[in-house]
């Protein structure tokens, strides 16, 4: 559930990753590369710091680590770009072409052709040995944040330094996640035989990307300077500084006063209020096409939500559009999401699957009465002497979620459901209560960190957390629908995207029919930058608005 790779990364506010792309307000604002001036220091805001720079370790879960340092220094195999209106994996400059997928002796094999010009900041070439080193570190080290996919690798052939041939022991359809934006490829010639965590956790001086990064751990600020040995487009700016801003209201004032030239705030009520009050001399992109999905996750194994009818009645009790409009109407996001897949994988989703769930008290009454429920003296549904009493949780201190929760509580109370709010710290909620099933419903987000679909980890019955598996499964909603499993497994194992899409869409419909959980909204991205900053500036659902900083410039 908390894995970086897959959906239902029910991230705490602090770990909310990629905001992104414009579908709502304005679209990306561009100026031609020839118009972008050279030189200058750009200071931008980072809403959070990060704990460590050992990107494959558990300490490195913060999105701002990826956005402000990792993506500029660690080479990756794919970029994420919009092609014909769809977010797509395209080969990064690290590769000469799209990796090839084949089956050799019945084994899945991926061949990565490495750009012969690719080199680290010390001039050493980036080779297949770096791929092998990265894989070995991920599968053999302690405290790795996620080994999904890497643990399927049987070996990497490094006989040709410019070709990494990866052979899998078992099929892994989401192979495009590997060596991607989260982990990338690490420099074996620097780290091999040494303590990787010790050499990276507090920052490092090497780079395989366009920038060298200096991380001041005490302040959290990251300073980027051009990598002199970068083999791609040379950055226009002399320096970029990410300054950590812990307070949203202060961040907006610092932006207004010109001390920060660009900010990428999370869609929290404070930020929305600030935008509502106006920010002058500014370009903006607000986008609902993101990797984030906020939903009302229901415990399908706990009374009264163990009844499909009750879950459906909950679906008909809520006016989700009203909730979304009250949260993000200012940003142009007014409609609820209708799938349990994040917007960036919409090509694999039935984006209307949950559209039948609109507020309809008559349907609620019919469903509940038909299932033997009656209303008691307090106006709550009751069956067999037990009230429809549901514990609703979320992360304490998260204003947006608490606002959402209040509206849900009120609407469900009107429909006859007793809602008890019991919020917790993120670690307690996602580390204990949710995996242990100690909740009725909770408001949380799912965060995609790749463009691959896949909800099996979240809804396949084999992934239900139990005492037997140490509560380690990610299917915390305890969804157990036999017809759903093969569909979601197909999404995870097929190499044919059309089959994956068809299966995933069928799965969406089954999830909606059983109301396994209820999607609320995509978390919109907010990108704001001063008009003195020029270049092809926009948003990227996985890598933030800063993904192409090398092409940005600053007007004199």
């Amino acid at each position: 559930m908390m894995r970086r790779k897959r959906v239902l990364a029910l991230t705490a506010l602090l770990a909310l990753p990629a905001l992104v792309l414009a579908a709502c307000g304005s679209s990306n604002k561009s100026s031609s590369a020839t118009q972008v001036p050279k030189g200058g220091t750009l200071v931008v805001g980072a809403e959070q710091g990060f704990d460590c720079a050992d990107w494959i370790a558990t300490c490195a879960g913060s999105a701002w680590g990826l956005w402000s340092m990792q993506q500029f220094t660690v080479p990756r195999v794919f970029d994420f770009k919009k092609v014909n209106g769809t977010w797509t994996n395209v080969p990064n400059i690290l590769l000469t072409k799209m990796p090839t997928v084949s089956t050799v002796n019945g084994k899945q094999t991926i061949t990565y052709n490495i750009n012969p010009a690719a080199k680290w900041s010390d001039g050493q070439p980036i080779t297949s040995r770096d791929f092998a080193y990265t894989w070995q570190q991920i599968v053999n080290s302690q405290g790795i944040i996620d080994t999904t996919g890497y643990s399927n690798i049987a070996g990497i052939n490094t006989s040709d330094p410019h070709t990494a041939v990866v052979t899998f022991s078992s099929p892994f359809a989401s192979w495009s996640q590997l060596f991607g934006s989260g982990f990338g490829v690490l420099p074996s010639h620097i780290l091999q035989g040494k303590n990787r965590d010790a050499l990276m956790a507090n920052g490092y001086t090497w780079s395989g990307g366009p920038w060298l990064a200096h991380w001041d751990k005490a302040s959290g600020d990251v300073t980027l300077t051009p990598n002199p040995n970068w083999y791609g487009h040379k950055p226009n700016l002399d320096k970029v500084v990410f300054r950590v801003q812990n307070d949203t209201a202060a961040e907006f004032r610092n932006f207004k006063s010109g001390q920060l030239k660009a900010i990428y705030p999370q869609p929290e009520p404070d930020a929305v209020d600030q935008i509502k009050s106006g920010v002058s001399d500014t370009n903006a992109v607000y986008s609902a096409e993101t990797g984030g999905l906020e939903a009302l996750w229901t415990n399908n194994a706990r009374f009264p939500l163990d009844s499909k009818v009750v879950r459906q009645a909950i679906g008909y009790s809520l006016d989700r559009d009203a909730i979304v409009n009250s949260l993000f109407g200012t940003l142009g996001v007014t409609k609820a999401t209708q799938t349990l897949n994040p917007p960036i994988v919409s090509q694999f989703s039935d984006t209307t699957a949950f559209s039948g769930y609109e507020k309809n008290q008559k349907k609620v009454d019919t469903l509940m009465k038909g299932d033997g429920w009656t209303k008691n003296g307090s106006g709550y549904w009751e069956k067999g002497g037990k009230e429809a009493d549901i514990t609703l949780r979320t992360t304490s201190g998260d204003q947006r979620r608490e606002d959402t929760q209040q509206i849900i509580q009120q609407q469900l109370k009107t429909a006859g459901f007793k809602i008890t709010i019991a919020n917790q710290k993120p670690d307690d909620l996602f580390g204990t209560s949710v995996p242990n099933g100690d909740f009725g419903m909770f408001v949380g987000s799912q965060q995609a960190t790749s463009l691959d679909p896949g909800n099996c980890s979240n809804f396949c019955s084999s992934n239900i957390p139990t005492a037997a598996n140490g509560y380690s499964g990610s299917n915390v909603t305890r969804t157990n629908i036999s017809a759903l499993d093969p569909l979601l497994q197909m999404v995870d194992t097929s190499f044919d995207n059309s089959i994956r899409a068809a299966s995933n869409k069928q799965a969406d419909q089954l999830e909606a029919a059983n109301m396994v959980s209820l999607p609320l909204d995509s978390l919109p991205d907010i990108a704001l930058w001063n008009k003195s900053v020029v270049g092809p500036i926009g948003d990227n659902p996985l890598l933030s608005m800063f993904w192409n900083l090398d092409q940005w410039g600053l007007k004199k």
């Binding site: 200071v43 965590d197 751990k217 500084v241 004032r253 006063s257 001390q259 580390g431 204990t432």
Partner: protein, 323 residues
């Protein structure tokens, strides 16, 4: 005097020990140092290993004693979340907080004495009433709110009015990117956070100074001095002020310790990487080793300034020394 100081220092040691045990216990009861591992790959095994390594299966008193043994040698533990020694984190953050507190106290002390004396000397005048009113506004001003107002009025608006590229008073950190040292850039960053910290202190101390000054002004020796024809200004500044400062100095020493806790909001809003920011980060992440160390350091700081207050009182008032 040496005996007095020794006695006061000795009294402080058990207080710090008890405080450290209670704080250690509270943090252990509310924060799980292995919480960050709950979502990692093979969490159960990793947590079991970490609990064993950290000695979390031992009784709390034993854990505290182990922690204390290392703490007295300067080893305050390690933050696994940050992959860093806690003592390093504190030694990085502490100087920034001390700078803020130091400047805030200096500015506040000067302003409070001037305003307090002026109010006392001009008791029941219009300016006295005005200063009294302002003091109550200052005392009731929440720092987080005042900080945002200050940023708006002293940074954002002037920058807009005068079409400046950057505001005169900066509001991010203690230096601009790439700058360091004590220079104009440093002071342009210092003004608003110090103002934020000082506004409540000045209000409180100026009231205290006024009351103390009025008390001294009505004492016999001041009346005698005036009767002997000593000029009013000389009576105020040479005779009355010195004695009226004694209670204020002790209040200052006590308040400096309390400031340590009150600086959290200011550091957050102005993005200053001090003890306040360290505390907030640790609290939000549930970083137990940092929280324990932070609170113990804060307790030591407060106890130390209580001790200084006692010592100052002893130095300034001979009757305390004798007792």
């Amino acid at each position: 005097m040496l005996t007095y100081i020794s006695r006061r220092v000795l009294y402080s040691i058990p207080i710090i020990l008890i405080a450290s045990f209670l704080l250690f216990w509270f943090v252990r009861a509310t924060f799980d140092p292995t919480a960050h591992l709950r979502t990692s790959h093979s969490a159960a095994h990793a947590i079991a290993q970490e609990r064993e390594r950290l000695g979390l299966n031992k009784p709390v008193a034993v854990q505290w004693f182990d922690w204390l043994k290392h703490a007295v040698q300067g080893d305050l533990g390690r933050s696994e979340l940050k992959r860093e020694n806690v003592s390093t984190m504190i030694s990085d953050a502490f100087p920034n907080t001390l700078q803020l507190i130091g400047w805030a106290v200096l500015v506040s002390a000067i302003a409070a004495v001037v305003l307090g004396v002026y109010s006392a000397v001009h008791q029941y005048s219009k300016s006295d009433y005005a200063l009294t009113g302002l003091a109550f506004i200052g005392i009731s001003m929440p720092p987080f709110w005042f900080a945002l107002i200050a940023i708006q009025f002293f940074a954002v608006d002037p920058q807009s009015w005068f079409h400046l590229d950057q505001p005169i008073f900066k509001t991010i950190g203690l230096h601009s990117a790439g700058m360091s040292g004590i220079n104009p850039d440093y002071f342009s960053h210092l003004v608003l956070p110090v103002l934020t910290l000082a506004v409540q202190i000045v209000a409180e101390w100026s009231r205290f100074q006024r009351a103390s000054m009025l008390d001294v002004m009505s004492s016999d020796y001041v009346r005698t001095a005036r009767a002997k024809g000593v000029p009013r200004r000389k009576v105020i500044y040479r005779h009355a002020l010195r004695n009226a400062l004694i209670p204020l100095v002790t209040v200052m020493a006590l308040d400096i310790g309390l400031l340590f806790g009150g600086i959290i909001v200011t550091e957050k809003i102005f993005s200053i990487p001090g003890m306040g920011s360290l505390f907030l980060d640790a609290l939000s992440a549930g970083d137990a080793p940092v929280l324990v160390a932070w609170m113990v350091v804060a307790a030591v700081f407060i106890v130390a300034f209580n001790l200084i207050a006692d010592l100052l009182y002893g130095v300034l008032d001979p009757r305390i020394r004798l007792s």
